[in-house]
């Protein structure tokens, strides 16, 4: 089976202006969402408590609310269904610092008369730990981006590095925007998903860039637009296929992976789609706009080759005893 034939080069760069407008709108909308609605930090980063309760019957949420009212600890607690009608999570800002008595126990006592239930999960994150996790989380995103920037600059050229980073920031912003839009709790798993998007989207970008690099080196043509169009077309089948297989697995994870993995899978799902799009329509056009100089690159390559030859000659001379 074949999705694409290499008989014709698609003019991707011709669409780059429209794509650019589309991307800018998406990113701006995401930023606007982030600014107005804001990210909904979960307990991992904001600190607080989560108690997950599973009942034998559908959870009596109203009754639970009534029972929890009596204790000040539960002020502002929210009770929401978690994946199924018999399972709920109670979220609150407060935490307990005592090792022996914790909110899990208190909740169990408070809910005693509401039916037959089991407390399946208690997460308590104190404010200092929350702040620390947040700091570490931001650090890890920044470090990953810097590490990748350095690697790509080293393996390709600085313009490639900058273009791929712009694409990454584009992807992360839109993913964050989508998270804000549906109001997901941002926890450690979402951060892990964001870092995976970094790796994944970059993967796609690099495959395209590798083709462009190859095109630039081998091609007689010095028209970058042509080279890029050809390279994107030639990698199109691969880009689509890998995106599809990844999309398949992430989608099954999203559908069947259970409630706990839901936010992680959702973030990835958005990331796979946006990452694929950005490697074609964001990273490559930026390379074009930066005015990557094919002629200059050829000259550089020629000079490098010449140096190699010169070195080789010197070595030969040295070994044969001329020098």
């Amino acid at each position: 089976m074949e999705f694409f034939k290499y008989t014709r080069t698609f003019n991707f760069m011709g669409k780059s202006r429209a794509a650019m407008i589309f991307s800018v709108i998406l990113v701006l909308a995401s930023l606007a969402l982030l600014m107005t609605k804001g990210l909904n930090y979960g307990v991992d980063f904001a600190g607080g408590t989560i108690v997950q309760v599973k009942y034998d019957t559908p959870a009596p949420i109203d009754d639970m609310r009534e029972k929890l009212k009596s204790n000040k600890l539960f002020d502002g607690a929210s009770i929401t269904e978690f994946g199924a009608a018999d399972e709920v999570v109670i979220r609150m800002k407060s935490t307990t610092g005592s090792v022996t008595v914790d909110i899990g126990d208190i909740t169990r006592e408070a809910l005693q008369s509401t039916g037959n239930f089991e407390i399946r999960r208690v997460d308590i994150v104190g404010p200092t730990v929350g702040a620390e996790l947040k700091e570490k989380g931001i650090m890890s995103l920044v470090l990953a981006i810097v590490g990748i920037l350095i690697y790509v600059a080293f393996r390709f050229e600085w313009r490639f590095a900058v273009a791929s980073i712009v694409a990454l920031i584009h992807d992360i912003s839109i993913a964050l925007g989508a998270i804000t839009l549906v109001g997901l709790d941002v926890n450690l798993d979402v951060l892990a998903a964001l870092l995976t998007i970094l790796g994944y989207s970059l993967n796609d970008t690099i495959i395209v860039f590798d083709r462009i690099r190859e095109g630039v080196t081998d091609s007689k043509s010095t028209d970058l637009t042509n080279i890029i169009n050809e390279s994107v077309t030639r990698t199109l089948a691969r880009t689509t296929l890998t995106s599809l297989t990844t999309f398949f697995v992430v989608f099954t994870l999203f559908m069947f992976g259970g409630e706990i993995i839901h936010s992680f899978a959702f973030t990835l799902l958005v990331g796979v789609v946006v990452g694929t799009y950005s490697s074609i329509f964001v990273a490559s056009p930026i390379l074009l706009w930066f005015g990557f100089d094919v002629k200059g690159y050829h000259v550089k390559l020629a000079a490098k080759a010449k140096r190699e030859v010169e070195k080789e000659r010197m070595r030969d001379q040295y070994e044969s005893g001329v020098m």
Binding site: R121, L188, I207, D210, F248, V249, L253
Partner: protein, 521 residues
């Protein structure tokens, strides 16, 4: 068909994968297995902080106690022995004793001593305070570890995290009650003190305020069984639990559980001296600030052993004996983070992620087969080998498989075929260009290699950062992704190349590109 080094290496990799993943897959008794994370098997994860400032306070208190004991032994009359949070002060009545007191104080490490005539004042040096605080963390880790080792769970984890946090991980906790017991055992101060009841003023204890008591150098303590009942005891203890050598559960004459304890030689001596001098008075046995008993002293008690009786159940007495034996916590601990997962939730998570894994796996395998035909089958062999190798490597290193780790494996299934997609596309291209099968395969691999390497290394960079900065379950994700990427280099690149080399002659002969690569021709 001919053998080549690639296929041999690949075969070894498969054998390695099957062999080392077998113990985990078949749940065999022997052999190294993958450890399931707390989120999958259920358990308790806690990050504890230590109130280190309390350690300095108790250090000061024990210095005060040793001064008291010294002066009693040498019959030095001292007055107004007092201590607060950071210093001890007292004065002596007889100027002749200044020299011997100075000598004694000089032996106490890490203190600043100021003498003003007959008045003395001691405080800890800043260096000593830091040392004491650091020690209190070390000691808390050691103590909690000792206690949990005796609690009866398999492989409890107690480790330092960062400068001053303690990580406690308990797997396999079955019930809320068991968790509660474990938490109580961990956090119990288990500070045993033997204190003298202030018999002169004890009769008035109910009308006294804490500050009244402090004015006499006393404190008011509650009875453990009956909080209404109060005792007035001397603030400076005769002994503390640091001189305890052993504690065990026993029974009294009515067959009720109690705790027997033994003191070391120094403790026994102090205890003997005190009881000899205080016949007719009462001695309060104080545990964690509550009076458990206050027996009359009838005679000098040598030998240095005693009992704590309370309304214990056998379980409570056992846990308390463990806590006393493992030593007191120098400073109280508090909860910074807790994650507890019930066993049923863990089982549900395993089930859900397995469904996702199998579902995703089947989708990818079928897709590859339909799209690439034989080339897809070859890629699928590599993918299956990859899964076994991930599991084998994790088993071998005893790595922990968490829920995000499972997600990582699912993701690897999607991403590991990427290398084969790139290679197959390259081969197709070269065949279209009219290259021979041999050339197409060799050049296809050569061309694809650079891109695959660059792409994998950048993903690896992200995974390593995630491992370094991630905590707990997230680390598991970084581990499976990293192993998956590395294993895919072996299976998807080297392994499939070997298979192609082996089949090359056959492919050339058949000339059926539709069968082999899913394209016309």
């Amino acid at each position: 068909m001919k053998l080549n080094y690639r296929i041999v290496v690949f075969a070894f990799a498969i054998v390695f994968g099957l062999f080392f993943s077998a113990p985990s897959l078949l749940q065999m008794q022997d052999g190294k297995k993958v450890t399931l994370g707390l989120d999958l098997q259920g358990g308790l994860h806690m990050l504890l902080g230590v109130k280190t400032e309390e350690a300095t306070k108790s250090r000061i208190k024990s210095i005060a106690a040793s001064i008291k004991h010294f002066s009693d032994r040498k019959d030095i009359l001292i007055d107004e022995l007092k201590f607060n949070e950071s210093s001890v002060s007292f004065s002596i009545l007889d100027v002749d004793d200044v020299k011997s007191v100075k000598e004694f104080l000089g032996e106490i490490d890490g203190t600043n001593i100021s003498v003003n005539g007959e008045s003395f004042s001691l405080s800890l040096t800043p260096k000593e305070i830091i040392k004491t605080e650091k020690q209190s963390i070390d000691q808390a880790i050691e103590t909690i570890r000792n206690r949990l080792d005796q609690f009866g769970l398999t492989e409890p984890v107690v480790a330092r995290q960062g400068e001053e946090k303690i990580l406690v991980q308990l797997a396999g906790i079955k019930s809320q009650e068991e968790e509660q017991r474990a938490r109580e055992l961990i956090s119990r101060a288990a500070k045993l003190e033997l204190m003298a009841v202030d018999e002169d003023r004890n009769a008035r204890v109910n009308s006294m305020s804490p500050s009244d008591a402090a004015a006499y150098g006393d404190v008011i303590l509650e009875d453990a069984k009956n909080p209404q009942m109060k005792y007035l005891v001397r603030e400076i203890p005769i002994l503390d639990g640091g001189m305890l050598t052993d504690a065990s559960m026993g029974f009294d004459q009515n067959n009720r559980p109690l705790i027997n304890f033994k003191l070391n030689a120094e403790g026994a001596e102090i205890f003997g001296d005190f009881t000899g001098k205080s016949v007719g008075k009462r001695l309060a046995v104080v545990l964690d600030g509550k009076v458990y008993s206050a027996p009359n002293i009838n005679e000098r008690i040598g030998g240095g052993s005693g009992q704590i009786s309370g309304n214990y159940t056998v379980m409570e007495a056992k846990d308390l004996a463990i806590a006393l034996r493992s030593g007191a916590l120098l400073a109280p601990i508090y909860l910074m983070e807790k994650r507890s997962v019930g066993p049923s939730l863990g089982a549900d998570s395993i089930k859900a992620s397995m469904i996702a894994l199998i579902g995703g796996f089947i989708l990818v395998i079928v897709f590859m087969m339909v799209y690439y035909r034989a080339a897809g089958v070859i890629a699928n062999i590599a993918l299956i080998a990859n899964l076994f190798i991930i599991l084998a490597v994790m088993s071998l290193f005893g790595a922990t498989l968490t829920l995000p780790g499972m997600a990582g494996i699912v993701l690897t299934v999607g991403m590991a075929v990427d290398a084969n997609v790139i290679i197959s596309e390259r081969i197709r291209e070269l065949i279209y260009e009219g290259k021979s099968i041999h050339k197409a395969i060799e050049e296809g691999y050569a061309n694809a290699m650079r891109a695959i390497l660059d792409a994998n290394i950048t993903t690896l960079i992200a995974a390593v950062v995630l491992y370094a900065y991630g905590t707990g379950a997230i680390k598991g994700f970084a581990i499976t992704i990293s192993i998956g990427i590395l294993a895919s280099m072996l299976t998807a690149i080297l392994g499939t190349h070997g298979i192609y080399e082996m089949l090359e002659k056959k492919i050339q002969k058949s000339k059926n590109n539709r069968f082999w690569f899913g394209i016309k021709g």
